[in-house]
């Protein structure tokens, strides 16, 4: 059994850990509110963008000559995966959930005999993936310096993806991120951005638009913008998810530390009592023997 002194030290150390996790929780809660706000504010843009693209791709005259960003290169040989994670740890299952989702996708791709290329955004994802898929990672980007997710960072990633696409380095691009549902639930998402799949194609928009210049030209300008927008959306969702995940993780940690302090205190009191009793017995039996 640990000595009284040891127990005392352990209680003190758990208490100070609890203080830290409590502080981190509060910081995460404050940041979460801001991140959530900007995620909500960013939604109209990506929704509008989607709408316009939907209208455009419905209106396009010859589907065969549609821009490659929309219709794909025709084959699906090389897959590019953009895995978006955070730069900081201590946020519960946030990063490992994305990695898990991504890894199962990677396995599927490799089993089908296709080529795999990975871009990691955020250093945590890179750390976890480089052990197994180190040779597949072609680029690692991290935005440690920027405090909040901003469009210019997303644009940088988007431009890089498009550059690689135009150079014919890959055929299909998928991004991995956590969608923010609420503080406790974040859903890891895999979203294909090249070629754009319009599964929810609506035929309701019968209204015809005037295009200036023609559809093809607008589309070829719009699609690269859409890539950046989708990545930006993913970044916003991710940052809200990160803070939410960190908040609940730190909340749990604080609670666990509290329980641990209680347990240790009981143990401390009990062994203190045991020592007193032992001393008493020694005194009494000493007195009796006289």
């Amino acid at each position: 059994m640990a000595s009284l002194d040891d127990l005392k030290k352990r209680i003190a150390s758990v208490k100070s850990t609890q203080k830290i996790t409590k502080a981190m929780k509060m910081v995460a809660a404050a940041k979460l509110r801001r991140a959530q706000e900007s995620a909500e504010k960013g939604r109209p843009y990506s929704e509008k963008m989607n709408n316009v693209i939907l209208n455009l791709s419905n209106g396009i005259s010859d589907k065969e000559n549609a821009p490659k960003l929309l219709s794909g290169t025709g084959n699906e040989k090389t897959h590019l995966c953009v895995v978006m994670t955070s730069d900081r740890g201590l946020c519960g299952g946030f990063n490992s959930n994305i990695i898990k989702k991504a890894k199962s996708y990677f396995v599927k791709i490799l089993d089908e005999g296709k080529e795999l290329k990975i871009i990691t955004v955020g250093s945590k994802g890179n750390d976890q993936l480089k052990r197994v898929y180190g040779d597949k990672i072609i680029e690692n980007i991290s935005f440690k310096e920027s405090k909040n997710a901003n469009y210019f960072d997303a644009d940088k990633v988007g431009k890089m993806v498009i550059e690689k696409f135009e150079a014919g380095e890959f055929d299909v691009c998928t991004i991995f991120y956590n969608q923010f549902k609420n503080v406790i639930t974040q859903i890891p998402q895999a979203q294909q951005i090249i070629p754009l799949n319009n599964e929810e194609e609506e035929t309701s928009s019968e209204e015809s638009y005037e295009f200036e210049p023609d559809e093809d030209e607008i589309l070829s300008n719009l699609l690269p913008m859409n890539i950046s927008t989708q990545i930006f959306k993913a970044m916003l969702e991710n940052s809200a998810s990160e803070q939410g995940s960190r908040m609940s993780a730190m909340d749990n940690a604080t609670r666990n530390a509290g329980e641990m302090v209680d347990k240790l205190t009981i143990e401390y009191n009990r062994s203190r009592q045991a020592a007193i009793t032992k001393e008493l017995i020694e005194i009494i039996s000493g007195a009796e023997s006289l």
């Binding site: 960013g42 200036e212 719009l222 913008m225």
Partner: protein
Amino acid sequence: MSEEFKVEIVNPEKSFLVKDDVSEVVVPAFEGEMGILKDHISIISFLKPGIIKILSKSGDENYYVEDGIVEFKNNNLSILTSTIFNLANMDKSKQQDLLKVAEEEANKTDINDQSKFLADQKVEVLKTLN
């Protein structure tokens, strides 16, 4: 019958401006400036660097944009842009900064014709603001 329609400008971070008493909007469309009045035909077009003029009862407003898309439908004008500044709030130093970036871009030799054209446009527009 009122001659007003609704305009909404969104940038990636937020909904930048919503106004529903607009009588005319002039946008720098790719193939030339385009004035939009109420009951304009549905149109989609994209923007080159330039000035958006919004005319309404409550006063005229001017915005500088670098890129974007306009969509007009059912008397709703949506403008999506990644870079927008209200000219009323834009001071000289900000303007100079933008001009400097644009000039640098325009002087690059390894860019294609279209980006060259866009960069030149930026420089031109920013210079006229002075």
